[in-house]
């Protein structure tokens, strides 16, 4: 069995976002780039499963659509425990473009499970995994909070509006993962970091395809007006305001 984990390279979650070039571009100065939190957890789960599989899971590959600058993030995934990596050498312009590039590569290999995250912390597309399902014409299950393999059978838990379901699912499939898939991300050990330097990282060229959407310009939210503060002694005053002025309660 082979697992593929799609990883997107995103600004650290604590980043204060700024824009440049008349708000047409993200200002990248000082940004720390990380593996998208969902992808880090998917990869962690894939590694746990491989470790427990007694050799049945042959390999874990990570794939990224990104330029040279995303290699440190890819190396980190290798240091965590992925066996090899593929980078599709293109700017990840928009979701359809990214999904199309991924699909082209995935078609030529035989992965049993493809993991993608619920959304990327950059453009919050929530798109790539679902698009892959249709581009590759394989099963796609979303909002996965658990992935288990028991006696060669694959089970997932998924969240739906108003509940969770456990499903038994045939491979190959694409899982769009969310909270719960793993508890804490795997921290690379020194040995892993050393090994990562020599693990295979294949760079492939993108294929031509259309962009269906384009981000024209960015804007920061309007700053909030100052918070109206009340003391412990004036709680009922606040409740009055919420009731009479804000008409919320």
């Amino acid at each position: 069995m082979k697992i593929l984990v799609c990883i997107s390279d995103v600004p650290d979650t604590t980043t204060k976002i700024k824009f440049s070039n008349e708000n047409k571009e993200l200002d990248k100065t000082g940004i720390q780039w990380i593996i998208n939190p969902w992808d880090e957890l998917s990869l962690t789960r894939a590694i746990e499963l491989k470790e427990a599989s007694g050799g049945k899971i042959e390999s874990i590959t990570v794939i990224n659509v990104g330029q040279k600058g995303s290699e440190p993030t890819i190396r980190k995934a290798l240091a965590m425990g992925a066996d090899n990596a593929i980078r599709i050498d293109a700017e990840p312009k928009e979701a359809y473009y990214v999904a199309y590039q991924l699909a082209e590569v995935i078609k030529s290999k035989d992965f049993d499970i493809v993991l993608t995250g619920l959304d990327s912390a950059d453009y919050n597309g929530s798109s790539v995994g679902g698009m892959l399902g249709e581009l590759l014409d394989i099963t796609n299950v979303s909002a996965i909070s658990a992935l288990n393999i028991e006696d060669d059978k694959v089970f997932v838990n998924r969240e739906i509006e108003g509940g969770t379901q456990k499903l038994e699912i045939q491979t190959p499939f694409i899982a769009v993962v969310q909270k719960g898939i793993a508890i804490e991300p795997r921290i690379p050990a020194m040995r892993g970091i050393m090994q990562a330097r020599t693990k295979p990282l294949e760079v492939v060229s993108p294929v031509d395809t259309d962009c269906l959407t384009e981000n024209l310009v960015y804007e920061l939210p309007q700053p909030k007006g100052a918070c109206k503060k009340f003391s412990e002694e004036n709680v009922s005053e606040l409740v009055e305001v919420l009731h009479k002025e804000a008409k919320l309660i």
Binding site: V141, F155, C227
Partner: protein
Amino acid sequence: MTVLVYTENREGKFKKATFELLSYAEELAKNINGEVVALSIGNVSSDELNKLGNYGAKKVVSVTDEQFSLLDNKLYIKAIEDVAKKENASILVMADNLSGRALAPGLSAKLKAGLVSGVVAVPSSYEPFVIKKKVFTGKAFADVKVNSEVKVLTLSQNSYGIKDATSDTPQIEEYKPDTSGVESKFKLVSEELVTGKLLLSDAEIVVSGGRGMKSSENWHLLEELAQLLGAATACSRPVSDEGWRPHDEHVGQTGKIIAPTLYIASGISGAIQHVGGISSSKVIVAINKDPDAPIFEVADYGIVGDFQKVLPEFTNAIKEIKGA
């Protein structure tokens, strides 16, 4: 040309979020000289289907086939594609919730229709089609241009509002979509459904607690308040990690993203990852004993104090107003 709205029911009833989608779609339809068609999948009474007319649907395509009882993305996508083509839809609108996120991307790929997820406003222009969405986990917005003929949008909850339309009873059409060639590759082993409880994603008011609440034993203070307000309860990530509260109550960048009218945060510091999940709330009230806690930077109202003292008083003051 039509604007097709995917309307989701829960136990045979539509939610407010669905009426908001229709109101939104009606405005889009006006601007493209088209009509709103609603698609309903599942068993919904005709009375309930008729309600969709009050918010702008001219026609309701109702699909009740048994094969849709279990959500299978491929099957649903095939069915929605079929209806979109039949109705000549140029814009598809869905909610930015679990279902919308499960189905919209596949539809986009299948129809080669540009997807904009989490839109927060009506388009600023129709030709070219430009629309605003949230990016960077709510820290910014982007104006996105869609290049394709057909567009797929998922709407952030509470970003448009519900508007009554003066409309006749909609035409209801029973329909069996063409799903040939799609075969389900999974089976249901078991399920746990939340029944009778207000879902966090549907709640107008949310009462939320953080690590500052000290232990799960103090949660009754929040639950009592929530009950009084008809609110849902939520929590910060460490609280669900500690097991004080169930995981489905965790809000933030790695939990649920919500947009209630009123969000009350008690003992929550306001870390940037938490705020990412609640920043679209209309009004935020924070209770925190530290006057410099970052939550006060995003809150509209705040009480600097100990929750042990503040929450009971808060609840009592509301009881007085409500005359309970």
